[in-house]
């Protein structure tokens, strides 16, 4: 008998716990394309699994593209909304992540092209100001170390922001998503040699701006 309660039955895992365990188990066993085909068949739980798996990378990619978390999350929602809306006609012709990042890159490039990136610098400064105290608390750095770190981060973000949009996208996919040239080419719908050209010019520019940080 539970002394704190007036009567109990044998404890059972909550529905959420059972679903979360099911999610983790399924995720380990099923590829993205297979899950998306299930979504096409009406299985919404599989959409949840895909979201769980790819939410963070897509948001991070878009955040580095547009340099605003609010905008990145809005664009990321649009990405997954489009994935969901296209479920009826999905065919696993390309890798799922290629398709996903194609949509994300398209939306990111459009956002940049539409000239809304004036906000990017403002949010960069705001984030830096907010980030200083929080980072000191989180990482145990001294204030001086934190200021140096933030200055370095500002330079990195500024350097990435100074890249033309397509070069920016290529670098972010190459560096943070660890995509090969062929996959980046599929995302950007160009040739592999075009991707190499984008990347090499981008890295050359970044070397000129960031090499002194070594």
């Amino acid at each position: 008998m539970n002394p704190d309660g007036i009567g109990t039955q044998a404890p059972q895992p909550s529905w959420n716990t059972r679903v979360n365990n099911c999610v983790a188990g399924l995720a380990a066993r099923q590829g993205d394309a297979e899950l998306m085909l299930r979504v096409r068949g009406g299985d919404q739980a599989s959409f949840g699994l895909l979201l769980e798996r790819h939410r963070a990378p897509v948001i991070r990619f878009l955040d580095r593209m547009v340099q605003s978390q609010a905008v990145a999350e809005e664009l990321a929602q649009e990405v997954f909304l489009r994935v969901y809306k296209s479920r009826g006609t999905y065919e696993p012709a390309a890798k799922f992540t290629t398709w996903l990042f194609r949509i994300a890159t398209h939306l990111g490039l459009n956002w940049i092209r539409d000239g809304k990136n004036e906000k990017g610098q403002e949010s960069l400064d705001e984030k830096t100001a907010e980030g200083t105290i929080k980072q000191v608390l989180d990482r145990g750095r001294t204030v001086e170390q934190e200021l140096v770190y933030q200055a370095k981060l500002r330079e990195v973000r500024g350097a990435i922001e100074s890249l033309p949009a397509k070069q920016r996208a290529a670098v972010l996919m190459h560096k943070y998503e660890e995509m090969e040239y062929s996959e980046i080419a599929n995302v950007l719908r160009c040739s592999e040699s075009a991707v190499k050209s984008l990347l090499f010019r981008a890295y050359e520019h970044l070397r000129s701006r960031l090499a002194h940080l070594a």
């Binding site: 008998m1 539970n2 002394p3 309660g5 007036i6 009567g7 109990t8 039955q9 404890p11 059972q12 895992p13 909550s14 529905w15 959420n16 716990t17 919404q44 739980a45 949840g48």
Partner: protein, 167 residues
């Protein structure tokens, strides 16, 4: 020509309406047969997330937010606690309507009691939980019970004893 046009548009409209009704039907939650002893919260959470959100979207924004917060808090409880509450809830809803009304009234009155009296009532309920219905009645008729609890508290204990698991 005019009648041909009317006939054509009527046919197209009929097909669109049929498609729309089919979509409404398809969009209804595929909750399946409710499990034994499942609560409305369980049935709601069993719905696909999109359907859940559609149902929430139909509510006024304030109400929607309040229910979302309350669901979040409930689902954040440890699973054994949730199960305990669901068991009590199911026993409550299996009572007749007048009995349910009485129990809810007593629960409200219980919430207004001072902390020490709440604890005394809880202990009493805990101690009568293993007793049979006859033994509980005998306990309620006894002098000790009437000495320890005032009339209001006695009514609360009697009503809430209906939530105890059957013996």
């Amino acid at each position: 020509m005019r009648w041909k046009w009317l006939g054509f548009t009527s046919a197209v409209l009929f097909l669109c309406l049929a498609h729309g009704f089919a979509q409404v039907r398809r969009a209804e939650p595929r909750a399946g047969k409710p499990a034994k002893n499942s609560t409305p919260i369980d049935e709601f959470m069993r719905m696909p997330p999109v359907e859940r959100q559609k149902a929430l979207n139909r509510l006024p924004p304030d109400k929607r937010r309040r229910i979302e917060d309350r669901l979040k808090r409930f689902n954040a409880l440890p699973s054994d606690r949730q199960q305990e509450l669901k068991s009590m809830y199911n026993r409550l809803t299996q009572l007749s309507a007048p009995q349910q009304q009485a129990v809810r009234r007593s629960l409200n009155q219980f919430s207004q009691q001072p902390a020490d009296r709440k604890q005394a009532i809880r202990r009493e309920l805990w101690s009568i939980a293993p007793l049979s219905a006859g033994e509980r009645e005998a306990r309620f008729a006894g002098a000790e019970f009437r000495e320890n609890f005032n009339d209001k508290e006695q009514a609360i204990v009697r009503d809430m004893s209906q939530l105890l698991p059957p013996t």
